[in-house]
Symmetry: C2
Subunit: 366 residues, 2 copies
């Protein structure tokens, strides 16, 4: 039985477990602490930044993959030097770890992006602001997620604290019609499969809802998104699942916002809404097995994130109210604002599907 | 987080794991040996016939349920006496454990069955044969499954070896058009949900293929099967999933063949083919949570059992050949004739669905 080792024990690792069980694949998780979301598959607990911890974990696995993109390059490269299959590999992951390198590399691939610049000083930022109507988005190259490490700024000194640590990325503040995400999987031997383009709805920089397929995109945008994602997956030699977050700008441009080289929140709908889920596909891809059909199981899927907690009595109430909605709880202790689960509804009428998903999710509101 | 304890570590316990992961339910398995199919969730290894082993396992669980029906009544009743929730309970399980008691009880419920008799001696069997055209099916009341403990006989002395151990069940040899199964779930507070009636295809007394819905049954038979299954679930106070195996006789009668009080091979299609799988439903039912919608996700599902082994290279080949077929491997070592996995295809054209399922399954033929 092939053994897939997953570094990190969050909900993405957790949601790989059902796929591994079905495929007859053994899944082992290197957890940060004992009581992680993916504890059922945790076979080791330790620091993913510590080479000997990671090497000990990885040695008996057929392939190493990830719940997150934070494993240091030195650790990744040491694994590769030991002959361990790391997917996605360090050369690809680099571009998910460092937003400045990502922008430089995507520019080389000719992928459409917001205007951007490498900012070394407040003078640089001042110049960028002057060129972009006095407003910009500034991002730390590393460590940002869910709105952290991101600021909308309008004065040249607004990133001085970050600049003291090193260069930052400035981007045009894109006025967009909506945000989209194109999920794609690629296996080492080259096969690529895409799911339907989805619309993602963010609140406070955090994804709250995903609609599949994107209801307002249109064929031309769908084709462009598929081409962009395929270009990136191939150009960066990505293996496993890649999520390409996109802006559909008010002026019609389709622009790459962020990349994630792992299963992604925008693809959770695929567990219940597609023939092959992103978690099954990720395992197949990192094992270099043939990829699965990604056809949707219904006209529409709506996925809604649940934050804070999913107490058992509320899960039961949500299931009782919406018997056809699928509830996914991540097995985390309660913490305000933290993603704790999601719900998905599928069906042939978008209004009805969205209503049912929202009605189920409402049971978890504080 | 609610804790469900499962006695027995076979593939039925294994396939409860993905459902438990999604629902945020903790699943713990009392395994027969270390390397069971459900080893990922095994928290104890021991003999399910030993009361102290089972009590130690059960004490910290919110509810106890089963991978099989072989836990002795004394053990079940001792758990109940300790205040432990056992679902289904011993009074219900009795009728899945003892085929003679099952026939007597179903007769009391007025459920249609093949002609049957309790046989104490070869003289009894001779009389039953004389009344039924010289042929009958004889079954040991306990311990039979997949064709074991079942004989077709035509002479009065053909069950003497079994009769030395105690009474047996004789049944009319039913000439049938096809075999059907009606899967139903019931929760302690009374809610009942049924899946579509399925046709089961047996070879050598073992189920090899399941088609959902049963393509040749017709509305009247579907209604009758649903009524029979509901009557049995309520009449026997079943909690969890109940499978009612049925003969559709050549003379038109619909007759109860066997009962299983747990998720059942005839319901494996529901993992990929229904809104709520039998494994999720079983967990919801034994927790007394609201039951899920059982609507099928496509017009047709075809499930085919795989026997012997599912080596990784053949899984990859099957997935490559049939990208939309779902492969389920039970993580068992190879053994000729043993159920080792299954494949399921779904879609809107039965011929195409059956072709795809069979083409995928063919990769595992010896």
């Amino acid at each position: 039985m092939p053994v897939v080792g997953v570094i990190g024990g969050g909900q993405l690792a957790r949601m790989m477990i059902p796929a591994a069980v079905a495929l007859g694949v053994e899944i082992r998780v290197l957890a940060e602490v004992e009581d992680v979301s993916a504890r059922l598959a945790a076979t080791a607990v330790g620091d993913y930044r510590d080479l000997s911890t990671v090497l000990d974990f990885a040695r008996d696995c057929d392939v190493i993959t990830f719940d997150h993109e934070h494993v240091p390059q030195e650790v990744l490269r040491a694994l590769v030097a030991e002959g361990i299959a790391v997917r996605p590999g360090p050369d690809a992951l680099l571009f998910a770890q460092d937003k400045l390198l990502m922008r430089e590399r995507l520019a080389g691939l000719g992928v459409p992006m917001p205007d951007w610049a490498r900012i070394e000083s407040s003078a640089d930022l001042g110049a960028f602001l002057a060129d972009h109507g006095g407003r910009a988005v500034v991002k730390t190259p590393r460590g940002g997620y869910d709105g952290k490490g991101v600021r909308v700024v309008d004065v040249a000194g607004a990133a001085d604290d970050w600049l003291a640590e090193g260069p930052v990325l400035a981007e045009e503040l894109v006025v967009f019609r909506h945000e989209l995400a194109q999920l794609v999987a690629r296996r080492p031997s080259g096969e690529v499969r895409l799911w339907q383009l989805v619309e993602t709805v963010q609140r406070g920089g955090v994804c709250v809802e995903v609609i599949a397929p994107a209801p307002r995109a249109g064929d031309a945008v769908e084709r462009a998104a598929a081409e962009i994602a395929t270009t990136i997956a191939r150009g960066l030699d990505v293996t496993g699942v890649l999520a390409v977050e996109l802006f559909h700008a008010s002026d019609g441009r389709l622009l790459v916002n962020e990349l994630a080289m792992r299963p992604h929140n925008s693809g959770h709908f695929s567990i219940d809404g597609a023939t092959t889920s992103q978690f099954e596909q990720h395992l197949r891809a990192v094992l270099d097995w043939p990829l699965g059909d990604t056809t949707s199981l219904a006209e529409w899927s709506v996925m809604i994130n649940v934050f804070g907690a999913l107490p058992a009595d509320r899960i039961a109430a949500a299931l009782g109210h919406q018997p056809a909605v699928k509830v996914h709880a991540y097995g985390k202790g309660p913490r305000a604002g933290r993603k704790a689960g999601h719900v998905t509804a599928i069906g042939d009428d978008l209004d009805d599907v969205a209503y049912r998903a929202r009605a189920a999710a409402a049971h978890f509101e504080a």
